[in-house]
C-alpha cells in the first residue's frame, strides 16, 4: 500500500508554484574575482622588481653597436688599432681570434686588450687633435692576435646572471585512503564512507636573482590542483560520491645557496616558504549514477608552507640547464571547508624538476 503521506503531499505540492513577484531578469555578466586582480598585481610586482634589479650593462663610450660577431671581426680588420667593444650578449670571457695574412699560426691565450698607442705630434693651439683613425703605424707586419671582448663592467667575470625557471612537481606519492565507519561491522547493513586523498600536482615559473657569488633569491608563481574523493557505501557498494577539486596559486619566496660547482654540474641548497591562495573549488556529486552539476564552493582560504631542499643543476649550455630538487614542504595550516590532502599529510616529500634559463 502506497504511503498516503507521499501520495497526498505530492498531489498538493509537486507542481505547486509560489505566488511571488518575479524579480527583474538581469543577464549574466562575467565578474572577475578579486583573486584574479591579486594575481595580476603579484605578477606585475614581481616583474617590476626583477626589472629594477636587473643589472644594466653600461655601454662603453667607444662601443660600437654591432649585431654579430662577424661584424665585430670586420670592424677589427678595417680598423686594427681601434679599441672595439661589441655590445651584444656574449658570455663572459669570450675572445675572438683574428688572423691576418701575415699571422703565424699561433694562438695566444686571452690577453688583456692591447691597444696600439698612436704617436701623434703635439697639437698647436687651435688645431684639432687628430682622430685615432688617422694614426699611422710603421709596421705592416703587426698582426692582431686575439682580442678579448671586455664584459660589461657591471657583470664581472664569474658573476651569475639572473635566470628563469620553469618547473613542475609530479605526483610521486600514491593515493591513500581513509575509511570511516557509520555502523559497526556485523550489523544488518554495513555502512561506511571512504576518503581518497590524491597527492597534488604543481607547475610554475620562477625568477632567480643572484645577490652574491653563491647566494641568490627566488620568487615566482606556482599553480597546483588538489583532489579528494569521498564515497558513501552500503554493504561496500557506493551509492553517493563526491569529488572535491581545489585550484591554488602559490607565491614562493626562497633563498638559494650554491654549494658546489663541478664542470657542468652545480649542487645547491634552498630554503623558503610559500603562500598559496585558493582560486576556485568545486564539488562534483553523483547520487546513484546521476551526475549533478558541479557545485561551486566559495571562499579563498590561504595555505602557508615552509620548504627546504637540495638540488642538482646540469648546464647543457651557458643559458640552458636542467635541474632536479628533492625537498620537503611543511604545511602550517589546513583547509577547513572541504577535505584536503594536507589534512593527513602536513609534511610531504616533493621533487621539483625543471629547466633553467639564464637571462
Amino acid at each position: 500500500m502506497e504511503d498516503k503521506w507521499k501520495q497526498k503531499f505530492k498531489e498538493k505540492l509537486e507542481g505547486y508554484q509560489s505566488d511571488v513577484q518575479i524579480p527583474l531578469f538581469l543577464p549574466l555578466k562575467k565578474h572577475h574575482s578579486f583573486v584574479y586582480w591579486l594575481m595580476g598585481a603579484a605578477a606585475a610586482a614581481i616583474v617590476t622588481l626583477l626589472l629594477w634589479l636587473y643589472p644594466r650593462q653600461e655601454r662603453h663610450p667607444d662601443s660600437v653597436a654591432l649585431h654579430s660577431i662577424h661584424e665585430a671581426v670586420a670592424e677589427v680588420r678595417m680598423n686594427p688599432y681601434q679599441f672595439v667593444i661589441a655590445d651584444f650578449n656574449l658570455p663572459d670571457r669570450t675572445h675572438i681570434k683574428i688572423e691576418t695574412e701575415k699571422d703565424q699560426d699561433r694562438t695566444v691565450p686571452p690577453p688583456q686588450v692591447q691597444r696600439q698607442e698612436p704617436t701623434t705630434p703635439p697639437t698647436a693651439p687651435g688645431q684639432e687633435t687628430p682622430s685615432e683613425n688617422d694614426t699611422h703605424t710603421d709596421t705592416d707586419s703587426e698582426s692582431i692576435q686575439s682580442k678579448q671582448i671586455i664584459p660589461s663592467p657591471s657583470s664581472p667575470a664569474g658573476h651569475r646572471h639572473w635566470s628563469m625557471k620553469v618547473q613542475g612537481v609530479p605526483r610521486l606519492a600514491g593515493i591513500f585512503q581513509e575509511q570511516r565507519f557509520e555502523r559497526k561491522p556485523g550489523a544488518a547493513v554495513f555502512m561506511d564512507s571512504l576518503y581518497s586523498f590524491v597527492p597534488p600536482v604543481k607547475a610554475g615559473i620562477s625568477f632567480m636573482f643572484p645577490i652574491s657569488q653563491n647566494w641568490s633569491v627566488e620568487s615566482g608563481l606556482n599553480y597546483s590542483h588538489h583532489v579528494v574523493k569521498w564515497q558513501a557505501r552500503a554493504d561496500h557498494e557506493p551509492f553517493s560520491e563526491s569529488i572535491f577539486h581545489q585550484y591554488f596559486l602559490g607565491i614562493p619566496v626562497r633563498i638559494n645557496y650554491r654549494i658546489l660547482d663541478y664542470q657542468q654540474l652545480s649542487l645547491y641548497g634552498a630554503i623558503g616558504g610559500e603562500l598559496s591562495i585558493r582560486l576556485a573549488a568545486n564539488n562534483q556529486e553523483i547520487h546513484y549514477g546521476t551526475a549533478l552539476p558541479n557545485r561551486k564552493l566559495y571562499g579563498h582560504p590561504l595555505l602557508f608552507s615552509l620548504t627546504a631542499g637540495a638540488g642538482v643543476d646540469f648546464r647543457f649550455t651557458s643559458w640552458l640547464g636542467l635541474y632536479a630538487e628533492p625537498g620537503i614542504a611543511w604545511y602550517l595550516n589546513e583547509i577547513r571547508d572541504i577535505p584536503d590532502y594536507h589534512w593527513r599529510r602536513p609534511l610531504s616529500f616533493e621533487i621539483t624538476v625543471g629547466l633553467r634559463f639564464s637571462l
Binding site: E14, Q17, S18, P23, V189, S193, F239, R295
Partner: protein, 193 residues
C-alpha cells in the same frame, strides 16, 4: 508562468545552449515560481530563497551543456534536481544554530502516534507549504527528501551524513508535528467559520 512542456521545452533548451539572453530570460520567467516553491520547502527564509534562486539559475545557464534532453518534462526534472541540490548545499554550509527547540519537539513527537492518512484534502497548498517550512530544519529536510524526492532512508542517511535510524525517526517526528498542526488548522478554520 507555467513551465514549458513538450516541444516548447526542447526549444527552450536549445535557446539556452546558444547562450542567448532571450532564452535565459524565458527560462527565468517560466521556472522562477516553480523553483521558488521547491527551494521554499527546504529553506524557510524568503531572503535566503531569493539568493539561492540566483545561484540556481546561474548554475542552470552555465551548465546547460551537461543536460541531455530525454523527452517532455526532463528539463523541468533536471532544474528541480539542481534546486534541491543547491538547497541542500546551502543548508549544509550554513552555520548551525543551537536547536534547543528540537529537544522539546523530540520528546513530544516520540510519544504521539502518526495517522496513516494526513487528511490534507481541504488544506490549501500554500498553507501546507508554510507548515512544512515551520518544521525544524532536520525534520524538514528528511521529510522533503523522503516525500518529494522519493529517497530511501539509506540514501537520506548518505546525503545528510546521518544514521539511517536517525532518518527514520526524524521523518516520524516531522509527520507527528505536521499532523498536529494540520488538525489545529482545521479546528481553527471550523471555529472561524
Amino acid at each position: 508562468m507555467v513551465p514549458a512542456t513538450g516541444d516548447k521545452e526542447k526549444e527552450l533548451v536549445l535557446a539556452l545552449r546558444e547562450r542567448t539572453e532571450e532564452g535565459q530570460r524565458a527560462c527565468y520567467e517560466q521556472y522562477y515560481c516553480y523553483l521558488t516553491a521547491v527551494c521554499a520547502r527546504y529553506v524557510p527564509s524568503d531572503e535566503d530563497v531569493k539568493d539561492l534562486l540566483q545561484e540556481i539559475f546561474i548554475k542552470i545557464f552555465t551548465q546547460i551543456d551537461r543536460f541531455s534532453y530525454r523527452g517532455p518534462g526532463s528539463f523541468r526534472a533536471w532544474c528541480h534536481q539542481v534546486a534541491v541540490n543547491e538547497s541542500l548545499m546551502f543548508l549544509r554550509s550554513r552555520k548551525r544554530r543551537r536547536m534547543l527547540s528540537i529537544e522539546r519537539y523530540d520528546r513530544q513527537s516520540d510519544e504521539e502516534e502518526v495517522p496513516d492518512d494526513p487528511m490534507v484534502e481541504d488544506i490549501p497548498p500554500g498553507i501546507l507549504l508554510d507548515l512544512i517550512r515551520k518544521l525544524p530544519e532536520r525534520y524538514r529536510t528528511v521529510f522533503n527528501l523522503y516525500i518529494f524526492e522519493d529517497k530511501s532512508h539509506r540514501e537520506i542517511a548518505g546525503l545528510l551524513h546521518i544514521k539511517e535510524d536517525s532518518s527514520a525517526s526524524n521523518l516520524h517526528r516531522a509527520k507527528a508535528l505536521l499532523a498536529k498542526w494540520i488538525e489545529a488548522y482545521k479546528k481553527g478554520k471550523s471555529h472561524g467559520g
